[in-house]
């Protein structure tokens, strides 16, 4: 008998049960895959770095005289247990061309390396280590193939200083050290014979060589201090920094986790609604069962069994679906990483079990009403239940112009707000996550973050080959070089000037201890445009600004002094301000323009900047981009916002996640609307029949139902839009903070936040509610006779 009732219960509310089952499935799917993703990525970074042989400390030297400088330190430093040293050649984007001579896009500096001789492990798509390589063939790292729409078997033309080699691409190799979005370097892994062709060129060997060294050590700080003695160091960071470079991949993982949490909450909200609805509808039956002496436990177990069965079925389906979803979500991460998956399915299963437990617990609490109500209460009050509080808040008699449908909809939402809370929670949560992501993605491709990469300019020209030419040269050479560029600009009818941000590596003595620090210095940049978060901008050559990250690392604050060895002089510099920088993950300081910098200490250059004397419009800038691209031998000319986006690197991934989240939000909105409207139509059958009986047309009834959802969704959208700005600051700023920029001026686009995205949700709700409200057409006025 018990199972017979249960069977009827499941059969009777087929649509409702199916939707609840769908939500349970979605919840299990997202909890499983979300947990899997986060745990795999969190543990996987270390796993990946170990497999690749990154070690505890990494040093990269680059530029003139860089090769050999490191060797002495490696041999003499007792804190070094072991090391792996690779000699490489640095190149630029214009080093590479496709087989047909067409242009190729790469991010940052290009690195050419002898694969068979490499001490570092790379991984192919099967996570095997490629070592065997034929002459004339190569592997490439990073998202090179994808970015340039190339495939295995395509030909790559590598040319540097007159030396050219054509290589057939054998595959993509994962590079743990430089393959992250944040590092973003591409390595061309070639055969020893091909590599020697470049290596044997004197200019290349002198100007473009470098070393990459992975060190195993028991004392990181000792190695760090020893590294301060090496020249031409471009990168000297512990393993933690390399690991941190995967923070962007972690952002994607965390967004998936947040999404999962959002869906879990939604599933439970929907479950609670459907449970309450079921219980209310079955009030009379419950009363009868109680009246004939069936124990509360038995009645409760009827519903608990139903939801347990649904939770188990939904979770099993969800678990199965979570496996491909995990792979799909991780694919954006594993494209550049080799992640351990030994725990994979176990985590998904744990997620599914968690969903079952939570659903059963929730059902248990929701069915407390069975215990509370007496049989008489339940039978007498029937489906509506007894109410003692005043219900109607508005009065039709006082509403002079409001139409019936509009009045009924407004009055319903105001009179029974509790009924709509679950919709508001579901819609607000979903929209909030979408809007937070929209704000983040917009910021990542806006000018707002430019000061975290350097000074503002009208256009940015990224040319590693040009940068290589000036690196390490004298100041006179640089002045001449930039004057020539400015003159050419003038000849083209574009009055303005070039500038560039450079990074220097110097030793700085702080509290008697020497540290290797990377300093930023602008050449012909607009220093006044830099943003300092605290203190005052450096006013003279012996004043510096520091990031809060390096201040914390070096244990210094505003007002402290550091003695910087500029090579030509040792200058005590006062820290006058804090600023923010994404460069070197925030571990940098900034010099005043008059600081006595020595070009021989230059370790990196940022993109060339162009500042126009007039104030060009966006359209003019686009036109000028084309002119500059045509007249200068440069790789890529970008506007300020484009430059920020390409520096951050994960914008395409973020956009993909944003669209995925919007898609899921629309799906959730549709499901919640269907569930609620189905329950409303069922719950209000008598009222709909009555309205029809007194002559109200179907259209008015649809409008009444649709308007309620529109009112509620508008309220939810206003709430989400209003919360999106503070919530973006609260949730996303700590992630930016990990990368060196904690105070972010978010690019809020009011049209998107307050109109376009909310409108998408409101229209979705409207259409769904309308389609479901059409089901009330089947309710006839004569049904008033059949209502229990």
């Amino acid at each position: 008998m018990f199972f017979h009732i249960l069977k009827k219960e499941l059969k009777k509310k087929k649509a409702m049960n199916l939707i609840v089952l769908l939500f349970i499935t979605l919840a299990a799917m997202f909890v499983g895959s979300g947990l899997n993703n986060v745990i795999t990525v969190m543990n996987g970074t270390d796993y990946y770095l170990d497999k690749a042989g990154v070690g505890d400390f990494v040093i990269i030297t680059m530029g003139r005289n860089s090769v050999g400088d490191l060797d002495e330190m490696l041999e003499s430093e007792p804190a070094i247990d072991a090391y792996r040293l690779d000699t490489v050649i640095f190149g630029s984007r214009d080093t590479l061309k496709k087989g047909d001579g067409s242009r190729i896009e790469t991010k940052n500096v290009l690195i050419m390396q002898d694969l068979p001789e490499s001490t570092f492990n790379f991984f192919d798509s099967n996570n095997e280590t490629p070592k065997a390589l034929e002459p004339g063939h190569c592997y490439v790292t990073g998202s090179f193939l994808k970015t340039n729409d190339m495939k295995v078997g395509d030909v790559l033309e590598v040319g540097q200083e007159g030396v050219t080699v054509r290589l057939i691409i054998d595959g993509k190799a994962k590079d743990a050290l430089l393959g992250s979005n944040f590092m973003g370097n591409t390595r061309i892994l070639m055969h020893s014979d091909d590599y020697k062709v470049f290596r044997n060129n004197e200019t290349i060997a002198r100007d473009y060589s470098g070393q990459i060294c992975c060190i195993d050590t028991h004392d990181i700080s000792a190695v760090q201090e020893a590294a301060t003695k090496c020249r031409s160091i471009n990168f000297a960071q512990p393993r933690g920094t390399v690991s941190m470079c995967y923070v962007m991949d972690m952002i994607v993982a965390f967004i998936v986790l947040i999404l999962s949490v959002c869906l879990i909450i939604l599933s439970f909200v929907v479950l609670k609604v459907s449970l309450s609805f079921t219980i209310t509808r079955e009030y009379r039956e419950i009363g009868v069962m109680k009246a004939i002496g069936i124990k509360n436990r038995k009645i409760r177990s009827l519903y608990l069994t139903k939801y347990l069965a649904m939770a188990v079925v939904g979770s099993i389906i969800g678990f199965v679906l979570s496996i491909p979803l995990s792979k799909l979500l991780l694919s954006s991460v594993t494209e550049n990483m080799f992640l351990g998956t030994s725990l994979g399915f176990g985590i998904n299963a744990i997620g599914a079990v968690l969903v079952v437990i939570t659903i059963v617990a929730l059902s248990y609490f929701a069915t407390r009403i069975v215990k509370k109500a007496t049989p008489v209460d339940a039978i007498r009050t029937g489906s509506s239940g007894e109410r003692y509080s005043k219900k109607s808040k508005l009065h039709l008699s006082r509403a002079k112009r409001t139409g019936t449908s509009r009045f009924l909809a407004i009055n319903d939402t105001i009179s029974s707000p509790k009924r709509y809370i679950s919709i508001v929670i579901a819609f607000t949560l979903c929209m909030l996550f979408v809007l937070m992501l929209v704000n983040t993605t917009n910021t990542m491709q806006s000018e707002n973050l430019i000061t975290a990469f350097g000074t503002r300019a009208d256009l940015f020209v990224d040319s590693v080959s040009e940068s290589m030419k000036i690196m390490g040269n004298s100041t006179d050479y640089m002045n001449k070089y930039f004057d020539e560029k400015d003159a050419k600009l003038k000849d083209l009818g574009l009055p303005g000037h070039f500038s560039q941000e450079w990074q220097y590596t110097y030793n700085a003595e702080i509290n008697g201890k020497t540290h290797r620090i990377i300093a930023e210095h602008g050449f012909r940049t607009n220093f006044d445009e830099l943003v300092f978060t605290e203190g005052t901008a450096p006013q003279s050559r012996n004043e510096v600004a520091v990031t809060s990250i390096i201040a914390k690392k070096l244990n210094v604050k505003i007002g402290d002094t550091m003695i910087i060895d500029f090579g030509t002089e040792k200058l005590p510099c006062v820290i006058t301000a804090y600023y923010q920088s994404f460069n070197q993950l925030g571990e940098v300081i900034r010099f005043h323009p008059d600081a006595p910098v020595d070009p021989s200490h230059m370790t990196a250059t940022m993109a060339f900047q162009i500042h126009f004397d007039d104030q060009p419009t966006e359209r003019q800038l686009e036109e000028r981009k084309a002119i500059i691209e045509k007249n200068f031998i440069h790789d890529k000319v970008e506007t300020c916002a484009e430059y920020v986006a390409s520096c951050i690197g994960v914008v395409p991934t973020m956009l993909a996640v944003q669209w995925l989240l919007l898609g899921i939000t629309i799906l959730v909105v549709i499901l919640v609307t269907i569930l609620m409207e189905v329950s409303f139509v069922a719950d209000e059958k008598s009222q709909i029949a009555l309205l029809k009986a007194i002559g109200i047309k179907n259209g008015r009834i649809y409008l009444w139902h649709v308007l309620r959802f529109v009112i509620v969704s508008i309220f939810a959208m206003i709430l989400a839009a209003a919360l999106s700005i503070p919530m973006t600051h609260l949730c996303i700023s700590p992630i930016f903070g990990m990368m060196g920029v904690s105070k972010v001026n978010y690019a809020i686009k009011p049209l998107q936040i307050f109109l376009i995205y909310p409108a998408v949700i409101i229209i979705t709700t409207l259409i769904t509610a309308f389609l479901i409200s059409l089901s009330s057409r089947t309710i006839k006025s004569s049904d008033t006779a059949n209502i229990e």
Binding site: R387, K390, L396, S397, Q687, L690, S781
Partner: protein, 252 residues
Amino acid sequence: MKKLMEVKDLCKTYVIEKRQNNVLKNISFDIEEGEMVGIMGPSGSGKSTLLYSVSGMDKATSGQIKLDGKDISKLSEKDLSSVRLNDMGFIFQQMFMMKNLTIMDNILLPAVECDKSSETRKEKVARCEELMRKLGIIEIAGNDINEVSGGQLQRACIARSMVNNPKILFADEPTGALNRQSSAEVMDEICKLNKEGTTVLMVTHDAKVASRCSRVLYIADGNIRSEYKMPQGLSDRDHERALNNWLLDMGW
């Protein structure tokens, strides 16, 4: 007297699990303007089905129903809604009301929807108040539906059904859910409306209620078995006694 409603060869068939159930079989009858007609019969005889079919609330399988000369059996759902709103009133046994509206707003609702007259909202409110005053429920105008008694609620339902001055009032066991006193009060109101000119067609199980009608149709197995016309000049008690005797003859 003018014929307000003409029902001819009305049939209603339900198909349940492929089995045909002929609930109404070629029913024909007329109702004259100002009449108060009762429908009686055993449970399951088709009384309510007849009422819902002739009022256009349910589609008849075949037959013709004319209201004031207009064949409503051929009308679309949309046009039927207009007829129900403007020309018909309906009182149910269960006192269905919109849950979130006050008594006044429930009564006002059909008036607001009705476009028969060019009254302003204020005038419609005034008319509702007048109607409620007449039915003795003005003091509960601002109350919620759960704050009033069953009798008051049914009178509110009568007020709602009368708010658009319908040509005919249909009542499905209007006193079925009420105690004797409330029942008498509600019937007094319906009779009063009838005396004022409203035509009434009412289904009832109660001979006392039916005795206040001018004519009673007895329906059994989907057919009108017989018709009873109230004799003139009898007291209420004699009316009831005469009706009871007739019902006994019908096998009631």
